[in-house]
Amino acid sequence: MPKILIIEDDEILSKMYAKKFTSDGYQVVVAYSGGEGILTAKKEKPNCILLDIMMPVVDGFQVIRELKKDPDVKNIPIIILTNLGTSEIFIGEAKRLGVKDYLIKYKTSAKDVVTAVKKALNEK
């Protein structure tokens, strides 16, 4: 049973994604901030991380940079799930940091998020 870490400061969405993944048979861990996310990732060592970008104090990009420094977690596939839009600055930065996918929350159904995670896990 793959373990998914959802790092998302918005409770509505983190709960909703958690519910979806749980019902689809995944084990879900949730972190409500960037800082908490880094700690949880290191502690839980999930199979895949769903990561929001716009978060106060420590944003998603900082989380990635932090995780890439740790050999224990640097290979965990990361999927960005944001509402930041399709600005190439962000997509470019995300690619540079080696994320698996860049999903726009409001354009992607929960089902498709699961599909993307599935795909990332298979590629691994």
Partner: protein, 733 residues
Amino acid sequence: MAEVVLDSLSAISKIAAEAKDLPSLWEPLFDVILRTLQVDAGTIMTLEDDLLVRRVAKGMGEEIMKEPPIPESKGGISWSVVRSGKPAIITDIAKEKIASKVLAASMHSLVTVPMITRGQTVGVMSVFTKKQRAFADKDIDLFITIANQAAVAIVSIRSTELLEENRRRLSELEALNQLSKTVSTLFDFDETLYSIIGLITRIFKADKGVLLLFDHNDRLLKATKPAFNLTEAQVFDFRCRSDEGVSGQSFCKGIPLMLNKIDPETENVLSRAKMSDIKSVLVAPLKVKSQTLGVIHILSSKENNFAQDDLRLFSILSSQAAVVVNSSYMYRDIEQERKKDEALLSSIAEGVLAVDNNQKIILLNAAGEKISGFLQEELLGKKVDIIMNNNSHPEPLGEGSSVNAGSADKLPDSSLSARNDNDNHTLLRRDGTIFPARLSVAPIRDADDKGIGKIIVFSDITHELEVEQLKRELISIATHELRTPITGIKGYLDMILSGDTGGVNSETKEVVSEVTAINQKLADLVDDLLNVGRIEQGRIEVKPVAMDLTNSITEALKELSIQAKGKSLEMVFSSPQGRTIYSSSEPPAGGELRSNIMVKADPERVRQILINLIGNAIKYTPAGKSEIRNQKSETNLNSQNPNYAGKIEISLEQKGSEIICHIKDSGIGMDKEAQKSLFTKFYRIKTEKTRQITGTGLGLWICKQIIEMMSGKIWVESAEGKGSTFSFSLPIA
């Protein structure tokens, strides 16, 4: 003797010819009479209307001249001579009835002869002797001849006097004319009127002059300043009904009147104004065109001050006065109008700046002074550039708004539409700082519709822009924040529908599907609003690249194929050559039908536009046959044509350096009015047919903005009930 007579006659003719007035005639004439007739005294009386007036006398003392004129009723020798036209010879005055007491006392004999010329008696000439004397017939004959010679001279003197008088009045009239001509350049009308009234008063040797103007409110004639020789109180109290006394008569009848004796009614009017000393009046209406403004009075404390022929001249002079009164009225009106304008200009909150055709400033109102920090005085006559910020605008404004770049030269010329509004301007303050301004420029035209300058209404919109910015940010944040809950709702609904939460019955499934659709509409609205916000704030990114338009269209059609199928609408896409590239009714022919048409555009934005336009075509085209049973409300639309099948055709056309994409539907279409407003924000066609079609009214506005950002254009051709064709152009890559 005959020689003496001849000498006398030639002397008299010479005297008569040279005489300029009566005394200069009489003096030498009497000398001749004295020599030839051997008398002691002589006198001339002339006939004035029904009076015999003694004009000159010699040899009978000063007292005689103080005797009053003799009326016909009093009779006497002189009057009997006038009446009979024959000489009277009296040897003993004491025995006769003689009018003059002086003569009765001092003289003994007399001869009185009529002075006749051209059959008209102008007076009588008399000679007297202190001692009794009889006159010979030849003496009488000579005297008659002398008298008639004198008559000719008197008539000639009189006409000279008359001529002189006319000349005098004529010159006065000329002066008055001159005066009224200069009225238009005179600033002080009261002063002008005063001098005119004074002048008229003096011409007729009267004491007072005053205008009575008709007051329409209480229908009274009221004295008005300036008045000549009237006290304030008299001016205030001198008023009457419009039919009262001589003033009222003149006003009502519109004719000049002369009153040499005051009638009781006029007396009453005058006494109210404490002017009972007035004994004669000249009054004339003040007429301008068909309107009578009032009357002008010339008043005299002497009885019989005015002669009949004064009336005509007075009437002429009054009409001059009327012109001045009227001009003064008009001037007051204009002045009032000007003051109103001034008050208006200074009271409005917007700055008002007026320039002439040479772009020189001719006006800056109080608000303009406050906004700009300039004073009107320091701007008058200066070029408008002093306040227009010359290097304000980074990019030229769109066509039609030539109020541009703040440059004076670019103010709209008079040929442009009457008004021109624009927000995108900056103006200069006196301290050199720049402020954003909203301008409204309108040409000023004279009576002949010739442009004589421009009026610029401006306001400082610094604060407005700040508020606007804040508002946009707020909307942007709010709509962005809305996305999270919408995404959440969507996620949960999807879970229910896909059975993640356990099985759902078909009824529940239908209800949840409805909620999902509503949620999607909410998501679309938020999307549109965010797009509007981005476009308005210039935050939207458009990155044109060479891209294949046919591919984008095909993709969009595939994306929308479920919706089209849901309404049984056929969608066909054909190439510029008419070849079918995609058809929803037939499976694509074997192999990929590639017909690369490359345009320079942003693929994501093109997709957005295509989804929007084709989506609209689907929305506004009634469902095809197979759906009729399920879409009750749309049945009516198709009932006329049982073979109706909705169709959406997409075609491409190359025109010059552009590719034009046409999206033609067989939908409800729209009228010309709707077409005009179609691409404006929040516009939606509201008819019975569109009531149930949902939309934000933002889609086409967004499309237009984005297409224009990619150097394209968008337009529509449509007629009500006949479908619409939306077209947009993009540059060829």
